[in-house]
């Protein structure tokens, strides 16, 4: 058929070397004030070119505060692992209005516009359906199998609502480390001793229960312009590609955003997800509610967002799926006795990171 490629075929999408026109000194601020204790943080970064390579550096030494514009309460955030965080028990509450203030060591002063925490809307139901052709992926040039997650909720009639959905998935992890051409010693992979005749990699079992955490690959938002006051059924909020056939728990977070926060996420969605195809919008500057107090012409990227979220979780049994998972599983190789230099090591801890946790997820079912 003559117009096949004109309409849509796979072979017309090719990977090419990415091109950038890097500028130094661009400042990106990501600030989240959450209703969940421990989830509030602020990150301040700056673009730079070091040895001809583009990098993004965390700006340390800033004085970062969040203040309640009604009560006048001020919280000072402390620098911790490339972020500024409040005391662990800090959480914002619906109805409160907060402002973020950042004073860099060089005197540059950034401040956000006030941000009001809106009440979260509860989800009523959650379900997942398996689709062998979940979505098409450019890099592999094929359809990806996986689960689509749908939720039901009742949109409040009295308010204008803007939603943003985020999620985390938890998959059981058997092996916590894989060291390629190296051995796991003292909490890290250490290169093989010279002339050693070791295997290409070694796997190390988790010392405790452990779950791998994955995040969304697209932005999901909704304006209730056409659904105000209605019960929204089977709204698709997450695509979970079949990376492995391990069972998983998906934890959906439903945020209620302010109009300006929603506008920011719309731009983010345009930049990240809507760039393909025939009708891509032009790229735009991702500028939110942060500004340079002394210089209003200074571009400050990112945003300070204060939002409440409701949470729904679902356990998905993937043991009966026939399709091949996306991640290729290599044969397990563990250190054999006497094969590797002492001390022989066969396990590694499940260290807590953004991508891994030893805390059993809610709704997990052992099978």
């Amino acid at each position: 058929m003559a117009y096949s490629c004109l309409l849509a075929t796979l072979s017309c999408i090719d990977p090419v070397e990415p091109e950038f026109e890097i500028r130094e000194g661009l400042v990106f601020i990501e600030g989240i004030a959450s209703t969940t204790p421990g989830a509030t943080f602020v990150s301040v970064r700056i673009s730079a070119i070091e040895f001809t390579v583009s990098v993004v550096n965390f700006i340390a030494g800033a004085r970062v505060t969040m203040s309640n514009t009604v009560t006048g309460d001020e919280i000072v955030l402390m620098e911790l692992r490339d972020a500024y965080v409040p005391p662990p028990d800090f959480a914002v509450a619906p109805g409160e209005t907060w402002e973020l203030d950042i004073l860099l060591a060089d005197g540059t002063h950034y401040r956000s516009l006030p941000e009001t925490v809106l009440k979260a809307v509860e989800m009523d139901a959650i379900k997942a359906t398996y689709d062998p052709r979940l979505f098409f992926r450019d890099d592999s040039g094929d359809f990806v199998p996986g689960h689509a997650v749908y939720i039901d909720y009742k949109d409040p009639a009295e308010d204008k609502n803007y939603y943003y959905w985020n999620f985390r998935t938890f998959e059981n992890l058997d092996f916590c480390e894989k060291c390629r051409f190296s051995l796991y010693r003292d909490g890290e992979c250490i290169a093989n001793p010279p002339n050693s005749n070791l295997r290409p990699y070694y796997d190390y079992k988790c010392e405790s229960e452990c779950w791998r955490i994955r995040f969304p690959e697209t932005i999901t938002i909704l304006d209730d312009a056409f659904t105000n006051g209605n019960e929204v059924l089977q709204f698709r909020v997450a695509d979970l590609p079949l990376y492995t056939r391990e069972d998983l728990v998906v934890q959906i977070q439903q945020f209620s955003l302010s109009p300006t926060a929603f506008a920011y996420y719309q731009v983010l969605q345009d930049i990240l997800d809507d760039t393909k195809g025939f009708n891509a919008p032009p790229p735009a500057a991702l500028i939110g509610n942060m500004r340079n107090v002394e210089n209003p012409e200074d571009f400050v990227f990112g945003r300070f967002t204060a939002a409440a979220a409701s949470v729904a979780t679902l356990f998905i049994d993937r043991s009966a799926i026939a399709e091949t998972p996306l991640e290729i599983s290599e044969p397990v190789i563990t250190e054999g006795f006497g094969e590797t230099p002492a001390p022989q090591t066969t396990s590694a801890p499940c260290s807590e990171t953004r991508f891994r946790t030893a805390i059993r997820p809610e709704d997990w079912i052992d099978q």
Binding site: L6, F28, L233, T260, I271, F278, N279, A280, A284
Partner: protein, 803 residues
């Protein structure tokens, strides 16, 4: 002796007489076609009184040995005028015969009507014209003869790429070009998201593009006018034409309904072969693509001084395509696009005794785009529908005083009714019914134009158009807090209340100075106002993209265009060369705030930013219209820039600095060569090469949550790879038999002969493990290039004419 002598004398006289009588000469003919200059094979040559003759060879030659004398020669060829000549043959002679194409023998009534229409519809100064014959020669994608693609081969005309829902003329945006089909505006000129033009191929007469000295009778768009005319069916006999192709099939008929009174032209085209798509790729399982168009024209000649014509046009599309971004905030698995155009033009032309004419037009144009959303959870469909309804009245009096002075005066009244959208939830309980208020506006215009041949060497053209635009209620005028976006208040206007008026005075000036036999210099100036625009924040609009007239917030776009051109005919006027420069300054061009979404937005002005535009360039063209080799070349150097003017930092485009528009193409070269080897074979080549479209690369990449987010400050800071493509077509008249009422030809087309992968779009993507790491290297983001074509497109079409 005497008797013997007498016998000898008689014998000598008879011998001499016999000698004189018997002397033979060669009479040769070379028969050529006037249009192409090519030899004509099989021309019939009849000679009297010898009752001899024959047919011409493939070189168009025929020779015969004849005794000296006087002969009557008649040469005939089907479709050509009969040639007769009396020849006194007293020596060898070679006669060169140029055969001209026969026009149908029409009655006096029809001939007069035809002449009046031709005079009225002849293109104005400054027009670029393509005839249906020109368009048929151009190799087209998948064999579809296409108006818009044909126009892009002319200097200064471009589009958004392989997929483009319109034309860009001299760097303007797609909606700055007014497209008319027999005076009725066409709001969506393409099928299948820009693959083909909507115009029914077999019914077209001419396509004129005005881009410099735009005649005063046209208004409403700020860059150019594309005036497409439907054939007038001035025929004595029925003629049927059509074609069968891979993508679509078509049929047209021209016939007298009542002799010398009522004449009919009707044509249609349909493309419905999408059921074959899954055979190509299983990714196309979900793709649907069907389209139809039809045109009808009736000409009624009630008196010798009056003619009334009606043109009707219908076009419909339905498609579903994965590579179109889904509409937001509607819970649906797919988006289906369903849109149609229904136009009608009633044209009454009265001719006065002094040969002046009064033309009166009633025009209606309805464009109804729909988007259908099948619900995820059940079989219900949610439907979005919008509509533009245009009604127009034009009355124009024209007169030619003498050979040096002609003028026209006219008025035009237009009504635009735009229904921005309704959302019908069907049985969906989760979706609300939405009905945006219909927007109504009127445009009244008076215009006049005078062409005056001031001297042998100077022709002046002066035109003036005055527009009065009124936007009326019902309307809700809203004010918002700039920072928070919160609605501060509204002012409500009732039905018919005047909300906002704009007046515009538009001079249109032209001058031609004849510098010699074959050289002229032309200068032009035109001011234009645009009151209707297509609102879309993408490279090319969706067919469902919203249209919006000027209102209290959105000001009319304005442009001032200056042009200067040098025209020179070479080689006995067989080659036309043109060197033309232009400069256009425009105001209130539309740009959009980041993240703008206009779907069913009640107050879309919040996302529109009006800015400035600037375009300039030089075009060099060569055209050889006749001969065995004919065609054209053109090269254009041009630039097109935009600048937003926005106070708020985050809403600025390119930080309010000038940036190249999406249609900025510094270098464009087009070449079309037709080789008409003989009557049966025509080979055509078309090459186009141009600078790549500007696009935007990021100025940094930051991590946000788990996303690598490209950060942009600049707009259109780099270019896609250059675009170039070679196309080829071979038209083969399949039969050499004569006197056939059925004539057919096969057209074989190869589009993109050398498999050029011209990029349409380049975009960043999140990296996914080690996929394509040899290409993406250490970049935090991957990049993909979308090409519409990656191989040659072969097509074959069978075309026929029966008469």
């Amino acid at each position: 002796m005497l008797r013997q002598s007498s016998c000898i004398v008689f014998f000598l006289m008879v011998s001499l007489w016999s000698y004189v009588e018997a002397q033979d000469f060669t009479l040769s003919f070379e028969v050529l076609a006037e249009e192409s200059g090519l030899p004509m094979e099989n021309a019939q040559i009849a000679i009297t009184p010898c009752a001899c003759g024959g047919i011409s060879s493939d070189a168009g030659r025929f020779s015969i040995l004849l005794a000296s004398g006087t002969y009557q020669v008649t040469i005939t060829y089907i479709g050509y005028k009969e040639y007769t000549q009396t020849i006194d043959l007293t020596s060898d002679r070679i006669i060169k015969v140029v055969m001209s194409e026969a026009e149908e023998q029409l009655s006096e009534v029809v001939v007069r009507a035809k002449r009046i229409v031709e005079n009225l519809e002849s293109p104005q100064m400054g027009a670029l014209q393509l005839t249906a014959r020109d368009l048929r020669k151009i190799p087209a994608a998948v064999g579809e003869f296409d108006v818009l693609r044909g126009m892009t081969l002319l200097a200064g005309v471009n589009n958004a790429g392989e997929i483009s829902n319109g034309l860009s003329v001299r760097g303007g945006s797609l909606d700055q070009n007014l497209i008319l089909l027999d005076y009725a505006p066409i709001f969506n000129p393409t099928h299948l998201f820009g693959l083909f033009s909507v115009f029914t191929p077999d019914v077209l007469a001419t396509v004129d593009l005005y881009r410099a000295n735009i005649p005063a009778r046209y208004g409403g768009r700020s860059t150019s006018v594309l005036d497409v005319k439907v054939k007038n069916p001035f025929v004595e006999k029925t003629r049927i034409s059509g074609g069968v192709g891979l993508v679509s099939s078509r049929l047209a008929i021209e016939t007298p309904v009542i002799k010398d009174k009522l004449l009919l032209l009707a044509g249609g085209r349909a493309g419905f072969t999408d059921f074959l798509l899954p055979l190509v790729s299983d990714r196309l399982d979900n793709t649907k693509a069907r389209f139809y168009d039809a045109t009808i024209k009736l000409v009624y000649l009630p008196t010798k001084d009056d003619q009334i014509s009606f043109t009707g046009f219908f076009s419909k599309d339905f498609y579903q395509l994965d590579l179109v971004t889904k509409i937001k905030n509607i819970n649906a698995e797919t988006n289906q696009y369903d849109f149609q155009t229904l136009n009608g033009t009633l044209n009454w032309t009265h001719t006065f005794a002094n040969q002046a004419n009064l033309r009166t037009l009633l025009i209606s144009s309805d464009y109804t785009p729909k988007t259908v959303f099948p619900e995820s959870a059940n079989s219900n469909t949610i439907t979005f529908e919008s509509k533009i309804g245009y009604l127009g009245f034009v009355s124009e009096y024209s007169n030619a005083i003498d050979n040096s002075l002609d003028y026209y005066l006219g008025t035009q009244a237009s009504r635009y009714q735009i229904n921005p959208g309704t959302l019908d939830p069907g049985t969906a309980s989760s979706v609300n019914q939405v009905d945006l208020a219909t927007e109504t506006s009127y445009e009244f215009a008076g215009f006049g134009n005078l062409n005056w041949k001031a001297s042998e060497n100077l022709i002046l053209s002066g035109g003036l158009r005055f527009n009065h635009f009124v936007f009326v209620g019902p309307y809700v005028q809203a004010t918002f807090n700039d920072t928070s976006g919160i609605l501060l208040g509204t002012k409500v206007f009732g039905k018919g209340d005047g909300v906002k008026t704009y007046n515009g005075l538009e001079p249109r000036l032209g001058a031609t100075i004849q510098l010699g036999e074959a050289t002229s210099l032309k200068a032009s100036y035109a001011r234009l106002n645009q009151y209707l625009q297509n609102i879309y924040n993408t490279t090319t609009p969706l067919p469902t993209s919203r249209w919006k007239t000027a209102d209290p917030h959105i000001l009319p776009q304005k442009s001032n265009t200056y042009g200067l051109g040098l025209y020179q005919n070479l080689s006995d006027n067989s080659i036309e060369t043109v060197l033309e420069g232009y400069y256009r300054k425009s105001d209130h061009n539309l740009t959009y705030k980041p993240g703008a979404d206009f779907f069913l937005q009640e107050f879309l002005e919040r996302d529109v930013v009006q800015g400035q535009g600037e375009a300039y360039g030089v075009e060099l063209s060569f055209k050889k219209a006749k001969g065995k080799f004919n065609g054209w070349f053109n090269y254009t150097w041009s630039r097109s820039f935009l600048r937003s003017r926005n106070e708020k930092l985050g809403d600025r485009v390119n930080n309010n600095k000038w940036y190249p528009s999406d249609f900025d193409r510094p270098h464009v070269f087009n070449g079309t060569i037709n080789f008409e080897g003989d009557k049966y074979n025509t080979w055509s080549f078309n090459f186009t090469g141009q600078s790549g479209r500007p696009y935007t690369v990021a100025n940094s990449v930051f991590k946000l949550e788990e996303f690598d987010v490209p950060i942009y400050i600049d707009r259109n800071n780099v270019r896609l790879r250059p675009y170039h493509r070679l196309d080829f077509s071979w038209r083969l008249a399949y039969s050499k038999k004569e006197n056939r009422r059925w004539m057919g030809d096969w057209t074989f087309t190869i589009y993109n002969v050398y498999s050029r992968r011209n990029p349409f779009n380049l975009y960043y993507s999140q990296r996914n493990g080690a996929e394509n790491s040899d290409v993406f290297l250490g970049s935090p983001l991957g990049t993909y290039e979308l090409s519409i074509l990656n191989s040659p497109l072969f097509a074959v079409t069978y075309n026929f004419v029966f008469q």
